[in-house]
Symmetry: C2
Subunit: 549 residues, 2 copies
Amino acid sequence: MDQKTADVNFDSLLRIFTVPEGPDSTLTQIEAKLSHNLNHFLREHIVAEEKPLREIEKDFSSPAIPEQPQFVSDHTQHLLDTLVSHSVHTSSPSFIGHMTSALPYFLMPLSKIMIALNQNLVKIETSKAFTPLERQVLGMLHRLIYGENDAFYSQWMHSANHSLGAFCSGGTIANITALWVARNNALKPQGSFGGVEKEGLFAAMMHHGYKGLAILVSERGHYSLKKAADVLGIGQKGLVAVKTDSNNRIVPSALKAKIAELKEQGIKPFAVVGVAGTTETGNIDPLRDIAEICAETDCHFHVDAAWGGATLMSNHHRHLLDGIELADSVTIDAHKQLYIPMGAGMVLFRSPEAMKSIEHHAQYILRKGSKDLGSHTLEGSRSGMAMLVYAAMHIISRPGYEMLIDQGIEKASYFANLIEQQPDFELISHPELCLLTYRYVPSHVKQALESATPEQQSKIHNLLNELTKFIQKRQRETGKSFVSRTQLNPIRWDERDTIVFRVVLANPLTTTLVLESVLEEQRLIATQVPSLMHKLEEQCAKVMKTSHA
Amino acid sequence: MDQKTADVNFDSLLRIFTVPEGPDSTLTQIEAKLSHNLNHFLREHIVAEEKPLREIEKDFSSPAIPEQPQFVSDHTQHLLDTLVSHSVHTSSPSFIGHMTSALPYFLMPLSKIMIALNQNLVKIETSKAFTPLERQVLGMLHRLIYGENDAFYSQWMHSANHSLGAFCSGGTIANITALWVARNNALKPQGSFGGVEKEGLFAAMMHHGYKGLAILVSERGHYSLKKAADVLGIGQKGLVAVKTDSNNRIVPSALKAKIAELKEQGIKPFAVVGVAGTTETGNIDPLRDIAEICAETDCHFHVDAAWGGATLMSNHHRHLLDGIELADSVTIDAHKQLYIPMGAGMVLFRSPEAMKSIEHHAQYILRKGSKDLGSHTLEGSRSGMAMLVYAAMHIISRPGYEMLIDQGIEKASYFANLIEQQPDFELISHPELCLLTYRYVPSHVKQALESATPEQQSKIHNLLNELTKFIQKRQRETGKSFVSRTQLNPIRWDERDTIVFRVVLANPLTTTLVLESVLEEQRLIATQVPSLMHKLEEQCAKVMKTSHA
């Protein structure tokens, strides 16, 4: 409702579809501030210290849809006070716990244009030029991965009956799409059997005489693959975890053995997922080796490069993903290291024919022969997010992205060295890309761990886990900086459950000074939990007594 | 890159994360124009006459990621010329062929704030207050459908281990989520069987001794349900179509008979989908009758109210969806009749326990007991779209939405009358909500159809189908107005394939004058295809000769 009247009548309703607020309105002013300096706006409006969730929930406790309209300006102020102030400053240089980082400023006004155009990419009728644009974006990513020649792209990129991939809301939908395609291609029509897409999984299994299906992935695979196995009717047990080495990379011989084992049990392994940038440690599977095994064993080879795929933009580091060009499909999230706002994932297929197995049509849209994108996507209605990827590719360009990727990797390497130089920190996983894990271990505890018995070690580790949790939480609540945490099972520590800090260094605004102060703050927080530190000391004293005895 | 230099160096890269363009830049100016008057901006920048898709594709034919950065202003101009100019004016009052209509202006700046905040709603750590906000939005929609009391919402809305539904990118994902939950609940753990989510569909069928699974829906169900049946491993054949009556509503006795028939075949019907606003005709299934049948036959009752669900906002018309409160789950799209930008769907579940069957956890997020939204969604990373629904609910309020819904229904009723008054138009489906279908039938053809033999009728219908297609395409290409088209099988015309114009009257800016001119234009276009009109006349002449003989 506009500022003059908050009564509901049809004329005032029409106004909200036509007449924007005046230049003095709260919303207009806020937008201007945001346009002028985003970081300043966020620093000003997001409160640093964390309010307990229970307190925040009180502001969002009414399930009733209001019977009275609110003034736009009043409601904007309400949003600032209750929502924006208690949101997460994802673009802050010292918030290094997520894969979400700062956004290039030009994407904000472009996003507004994209939203105002309100295109629906499910079909050409509601998206026109956005459809070829999205096809080009998919072509760009396809070429980045597979590097086919120009003839290939001029033949397939805009072909009505083919698809180089699908743009979607994120990596999870991308992974599900890839495995859906893989499943349907593994169980396609044959003789009297109409294919799994028509007849379902049960009929498919009966036809082939399989006792089950399996997708193989390293122990470090993303949790979304479990969801995919569930949704696709394969079952979570059908997602088979394969052993990793001390660098969190899948062990090819173990993969091969597992595939053979499954086949002996009458289970059909139809897909292997290679991870290019694990979520928790940032490591990359030996993709070329996996590709070879997949070729030998007739498995679809999918690479989950949701996070690490952007590394292909760097000519200096793309060799780390060597073999990705052999994958049948690849997931890349643009909202991670391509610096696009939330909600932009992609899956690419090497063969333009691959997605035929999930093609679908309807009477009023997606008619056969149309170029409607919706005939090859899991989602239906979709926004024009591809425009933002397109714009960023042109404005930042490949060498620009290369610099962003390179600086992240360099910074992670710097931080890893810094951690290793500290007497009271322990690097847990070395960064291959811009992600690493570590923990705080007071120097006397480090020493004690060296000579402790396995039982003593276990006790100390449990205390350290508590300490890591405490530090991570307190640091987040204080609001100055943020690292995330996860649980690993490092070989160095006999695969014990080990809670670690996890850091992602994608934000180009993060300086080495920030990194130093993150460690400093963690060291300080440790002193704020004397009870825990005391228990650790006691435990270490015991170790020293035993080992000196 | 900023205007001063388009070379790539790290300093200039950092600038794109910090320093916005000056007030004179193209992007800033465009944004200001757009903020000042959106409709004017769109009218000015979107060209009316349609450029052939092949021509547009030429602008989007390069699969190479540029090696040279572009100036923001240059690229913005490029986007205006190639993309915006050939996008679809979805908010135009005379574009009445889609479910996408005008947006309230205040959502544009709010979207920009949402995007700048770049929250990830998969977990609290990256969304904080956005998580309780989204839970409230789900609570609001839940209450709109199910109308539980305050105690219910204060117990469940923010409960860590429960969920009233899921916010997602659109109706397709919402429908898939509902049927995923339904499938898993129908095949849950029992004795030694660990449940379909763990053991997969094949093991589940063996355990229960079923020969197949089925989802039942009327012939008018949305095409996304076929996708759902495919993805979930049920197979498209498992999506069983049930007969509809002359008003495109499912026939309850036919549903009952079909369920019995399936059971006799050893097939387990586990879900029935009622449609509340079919995509093609806007009709609503007899929800209360379906609910009763579902209760008797132990089926999950899902209502696909992606489009029609917003009708619940109108106290005058919500009775049309009578019985929806008996559904186990309901899909509603906010980007349809709740006037939210593209990419906002929801699925709601009557029982806060329902989604337990798809709950999932991970080590680094979604830990057990956390309130992370991601433990109950098909998607992973998601944006803060729920904020826009929340704001619109408060600024427009329930009575405001009521007016919007009511005006659409009234307008459709007006247009239906107008069509029926024309000697040369035929109303094919009467509007129950704000959607109707019709076609152009010259008056002498109407007359001829009355006395034609079935064979003659068939020939005339085929010609009319060609004519409808021609008019719809030409009208779209001319760019003054737009209606969509689909194919129906009206009982009045012996269920012959009948191509029709389809109109959705949700845009509050569409006037009766616009409706009159749409008909006028269609009548005019018909005269531009003399060959077809001539063939029709010939055919009619034959009829007259036979019937007079």
